[in-house]
Amino acid sequence: MDREASPDMDADLVLKFRNGEESAFEDLVRRHMRDAYGFCLRLTGDPAEADELSQDGFVLAYRHLKDFRGESTFRSWLFRILLNRHRDRIRGRRREEGRRAGLRREEEGRAAAGDETGAELRAEELAEVIRDRVQGLPDRQREVLVLHVYQGLAYREIAALLGCTYDDVKMNLSLARRRLRDELREHLS
């Protein structure tokens, strides 16, 4: 996607949709579906969930587009919807997932210490380990990290999107990195 040119085109499409041109919304979906899906995939770590979540986001965007004031870009607004929807979906599953992830990490830790300490992982395996560790971050840290590292948003954009301060973004990003560095130390050296 050409991000430099997109906000104006998005604003144009939003206007057309609000003036009754239904097909303009489909153009918006077409322009953002890969980006939205990629974002959801980083958040959820699961292709099927990401597919469903990103579609939920577009459905909600459709319902509320008439209220979109254009104070942020359509992309930021859509990400905000996706994040809120994601939080809704994971709430309720959070504790169970956290418990399982904790157990999984403990088991993996024991396995690594037992027989493969220091062994070099193949690139794919390393990618899997990193994905798993990113998924294991606390929600807010993962959100900030994904928005910054994978979606390329600046601190202030993230703060506006999450409704928090610049310092909150900085702190959460720093905590996420510190934790990942600790957990991935042996693989990154």
């Binding site: 709430r91 601190y155 720093s174 990154l188």
Partner: protein, 318 residues
Amino acid sequence: MKCEEFRESLGEYADRELSPPALDRVREHLAGCGSCAAELQALERLEEALRAVPANGDEVRWDGYIDRVRARTSGSRRFTWRALVPLAAAVLMTFGLARMMSVDFPTPDPRSLLDRYAFADAAGRAALEREAARLEPEGLAVLAAAMVEDPDAAIQRAAGRLLASRADEEPVRRLLLARSGEASLADADEVLIGEIGTEPSDADMVAPALEMAKSSRLFADSVRVLRKLDRGGLNRTAHGEIVRRVRELLSSDMPQDRELGVRLVGALEVLVVDVVEFLDVPDLGPQVLDFLRRRTSQDFGTDKKAWRAWFARKAGRT
């Protein structure tokens, strides 16, 4: 400036977030400090590794994606309304028509109010709350139904907050509390009362919830709402607001306020150390002592110094 302070800025430095003067200061420090330079390298290695990881799988059927969105958007609104009708009717029955108001202004459409409120900024929300003040029981019932049933959490939250803006009214309180009661019976994570508390602006609901606590009949339900709002470090705004208001109650000149403060400390487990101060106050002392014993499994009687020392030791250990 010490290395520690520079290290706090290394993330911003690597992310090109620093202003030019700050950037120059960090750059200058890095040139002369091997340890901080190594720290930056480690950070950059991590960043590189993270960016190199592809997302897990990419097998979306893009050709059918838009069709699926289209299929869902074409029916979404009609479905929502149909789902809400029976519940709205039930709530309306509970509510009765007793609070029919005679108003000079046209009654706002609750559904439109919700849609606008969910995506409004702070100023817009304040105006919409004023509109919500004119809602009649039927409109409030629609809000209550949306709070529980709407598939969109933004709408659920908007409904909850609009109702909260009228929480000083007895019927609205009953409505809120009925919902919080349901939440404790149902899967609490799936309904509104499980949703609130995660956004900084949810701190606005602390005041009405505390108002409810002033009624002894509503105290337990109020505590349930406040516990949802108090998510500690997850929502420092709401937590801070609760602590501030409970502290105000504890330091009030009015005995009934202090008593309420002590009860809230017991129920919410905030400002626990602060209530030690009331151990020798005749009307509150026994209640405070009972709470402290249960909370800590310790018993220093009315010896305030001993209690404080115990809390200090405990804080030192954790």
